[in-house]
């Protein structure tokens, strides 16, 4: 069609390579550093304060040291803002810490305080893991139901895994805090990623039913190019929207927007450069396994196509040839 005739499938090893370039350092970072779990999951106290006077983190640490809290994470933000992350403080302890800070730096305004007891921290962690596991299971079930074909389903699942790893890698490498809202990030990203894969795979199946004779890798490449505009346009509008949240929505929501942005980018990427190439490689692999190529292709066509695959009735018979010739020129 209108798109340049990029050979995405022919160059798929670059797609795999790029994915690995992100995922492998990510896995290493995950293994070495793990995730930077926030107080939601570890239990503890997070204080976001605004002080009256200028200060250094060293001075704050001195104050904390007096309470045996010298190992707290102290960060200085814009406009005399101070954030402290430390163990779960009893009410008395917190009052004393705030008093000590007032004594040294003048008036202290509490912008935000998150205090999570160890028991609640454990509970939130369990709920988060449960949420991710159930969410993923439901998506995998939906994928199996939706595609009915093992290959399409597994390819979509792998793309999903790819996107989860990329988002985890992004949070591990950037040391961004992982808290309860991270579950929302993961599940939203997964939903979006599958959404994108579904639209692309539907196109492949539609073309499969119309052009059974075209080599599979060419057919997938054509499908990608046909679906590319929609895929990119949707990603662009969504990234524009969530990007506005990232840049203008304030620090409270920034990490959340960051995760979704990364996820949408990788969700789009993985449908094109991971899911579809896996489909092609699986096909080529099974071709090599079997003597008869025609048989190997059958299972791909066989699952009864979704209604979208045979949309415009009689038009289907004339359309493929027209397109076919133009493309093959």
């Amino acid at each position: 069609m209108q798109q340049p005739s990029w050979d995405i499938i022919g160059n798929r090893k670059w797609g795999y390579l790029f994915s690995l370039l992100v995922i492998i350092p990510g896995i290493i970072a995950l293994a070495v550093n793990g995730l930077n779990l926030g107080v939601d999951f570890t239990g503890g106290t997070f204080l976001d304060l605004r002080l009256e006077k200028d200060f250094t983190t060293g001075q704050v640490r001195q104050v904390l040291d007096a309470f045996g809290l010298g190992r707290s994470i102290v960060q200085k933000g814009a406009g005399h803002e101070l954030s402290i992350r430390t163990r779960f403080l009893s009410e008395e302890e917190r009052v004393k810490v705030l008093q000590a800070l007032r004594g040294k730096f003048g008036e202290v305004t509490v912008l935000r305080a998150d205090e999570v007891g160890p028991r609640i921290g454990r509970e939130l962690r369990t709920i988060a893991i449960l949420g991710v596991v159930i969410g993923l299971l439901l998506q995998v079930v939906y994928i199996s139901y939706r595609f009915k074909s093992v290959r399409f389903a597994v390819a979509a699942d792998l793309a999903l895994l790819h996107d989860i790893l990329v988002v985890l890698a992004a949070f591990s490498l950037s040391r961004k805090e992982v808290n309860s809202s991270f579950v929302a990030v993961l599940l939203t990203v997964v939903g979006y990623s599958i959404n994108d894969t579904i639209v692309l795979f539907d196109r492949i199946r539609e073309n499969l039913s119309l052009r059974a004779r075209e080599p599979f890798d060419r057919l997938v490449n054509r499908s990608i190019l046909e679906a590319l505009v929609r895929s990119l346009n949707t990603s662009i509008t969504t990234i524009l929207a969530i990007g506005a949240v990232y840049f203008f929505g304030g620090p409270t929501i920034r990490d959340f927007a960051f995760g979704i942005m990364v996820g949408i980018a990788t969700g789009t990427y993985s449908s094109i450069f991971t899911a579809s190439p896996i489909l092609v490689d699986w096909h080529l692999w099974s071709l090599r396994q079997k003597a008869q190529p025609a048989e190997a292709r059958l299972p791909l066509v066989e699952p009864s196509p979704v209604p979208a695959a045979s949309p415009s009735g009689g038009a289907g018979t004339t359309r493929p040839q027209r397109k076919h010739k133009k493309r093959r020129k």
Partner: protein
């Protein structure tokens, strides 16, 4: 224009007007006479936007009964009353032995925590000839006292009266003592108090709150009428007032501890609203600009539909009495970006049909039909994600799931009714060729060929 199109147009206009009324209430009905009022948003804001505290208290005794927790709730209600919080909510989670308190818009969460969470067990202890300094603490078993200096002495806690014997308590300023709390004992207790003070002149009657000594006065004379005064230990009137509140509401039947405290100061809440509104405007403008640049006239129609979409979301949130949180706003903004997706899918299908040489009407008809399944299916995955979050998430995250769900449903609705009507309308006018121009978007090479 066909009569069916008129019908659909009327339907869309009716929906939009209804949504506008639900969301912004420009017309108020008082009895039968409608009056106009300036439209504004009627949304419940979550604690993260209006500021406030969410506190989770947990009973320190494993055997705390439901009745105990209900008692705690009643007392907490009375204490919160004194804080002047508008619309607090208190919820008992009896299985977890927890009580969740939400205090919207509270200015001084620190004071709230110490006021609500204190057991406030007041005891009058006969310490004989020993005077204890303020801050001295009894051990839990009541056998020894740890002095502020650190050393502990064996001294059994011989309790004579408790907070339950009090009828009332009032803070006041005394010329000599500074801030004090005057109390009045109940009739029967007042009589006992009189007898006791008569027989124990010269001894110390130490006043203890939650095992900590407030003051240790000496009994100078018989006290009649059950009137007494707690003095000393208050640095300001506020502290005396808080103690009076605690004494009036009574002691919690079970000691509670704070397990979770999420406080958003009023400053940050306001800041979040301002910033996220700004982000919402910018996001909407960026999306519209992109659609106009890329799809031109159809993009303009989709942008109009986006306006309808936003009114629909506001109406749904208002109608469902949902609470808007900061992640919830992010969810709306995200759904604005995703809402365009349905339009993009439809436009791309129409484009393909046009390029196959179909007439505009057929292309619109087939485009929408072909897009339906893809759009419904692809949105299902987002709905699955939202359903899990709705089920397991709490507070702000649930707000995100709510807006995302409403957003996805509303986006499908607008794409299939509103955008469709707009496009059909324009297809019947002189502007039709500009709709057909969509076939040329995204690279003109083939169109020219």
């Amino acid at each position: 224009m066909t009569s069916r199109l008129w019908l659909r147009l009327t339907f869309v206009v009716a929906i939009v007007l209804l949504a506008f009324q639900v969301a912004l209430r420009p017309i108020r009905f008082e009895g039968l006479i409608p009056t106009f009022q300036p439209p504004r948003v009627y949304l419940n804001l979550g604690l993260d936007l209006k500021g406030g505290s969410r506190l989770v208290f947990r009973a320190l005794r494993e055997d705390a009964s439901v009745e105990d927790l209900q008692g705690v709730k009643r007392i907490i209600e009375q204490r919160i009353d004194q804080l002047g919080v508008v619309e607090p909510t208190i919820e008992i989670l009896s299985r977890q032995k927890r009580i969740v308190v939400e205090l919207p818009g509270i200015q001084d969460p620190q004071r709230a925590i110490s006021l609500i969470g204190k057991t406030a067990l007041l005891e009058f202890v006969d310490t004989g000839t020993t005077q204890l300094p303020p801050g001295a603490k009894w051990s839990a078993d009541g056998k020894k006292v740890t002095l502020p200096g650190g050393q502990s002495i064996a001294l059994p806690k011989n309790v004579k009266f408790t907070g339950a014997d009090l009828q009332s308590a009032q803070a006041a300023i005394s010329d000599i003592e500074g801030p004090v709390v005057n109390f009045q004992m109940k009739g029967e207790a007042a009589k006992r108090f009189e007898d006791y003070t008569r027989e124990n002149i010269g001894r110390y009657l130490t006043i203890v709150l939650d095992n900590e000594v407030i003051s240790s006065p000496v009994i100078r004379s018989t006290i009649t009428g059950g009137r007494g005064q707690i003095s000393g230990g208050f640095t300001n009137l506020q502290e005396a007032r808080d103690l009076a509140v605690l004494l009036r509401s009574g002691a919690l039947p079970v000691p509670m501890e704070v397990e979770e405290n999420r406080t958003i100061g009023p400053l940050l809440g306001r800041d979040s609203i301002e910033r996220s509104l700004k982000a919402a405007y910018i996001a909407t403008i960026l999306v519209i600009v992109f659609m106009l640049l890329y799809y031109q006239l159809p993009g303009f129609l989709a942008s109009l539909a986006l306006g309808v979409y936003i009114v629909l979301i506001l109406a749904a949130l208002t109608g469902l009495n949902a609470t808007l949180t900061l992640p919830g706003i992010a969810g709306i903004i995200l759904s604005v970006g995703m809402a365009v997706d349905a339009n993009v899918i439809i436009f791309e299908k129409i484009k393909e049909e046009l390029r196959l040489g179909k007439t505009l009407y057929t292309a619109i008809e087939t485009g929408w039909r072909r897009a339906l399944v893809t759009i419904v299916d692809s949105n299902a995955t987002t709905l699955i994600a939202a359903a899990v979050l709705l089920w397991l998430g709490s507070g702000p995250i649930r707000g995100f799931a709510v807006t995302l769900t409403i957003g996805v449903v509303a986006s499908m609705f607008t794409a299939f009714t509103v955008t469709r009507v707009f496009v059909d309308l324009v297809a019947g006018t002189r502007l039709a060729p500009r709709l057909e121009a969509i076939a040329a978007t995204g690279g003109r090479a083939r169109a020219a060929a």
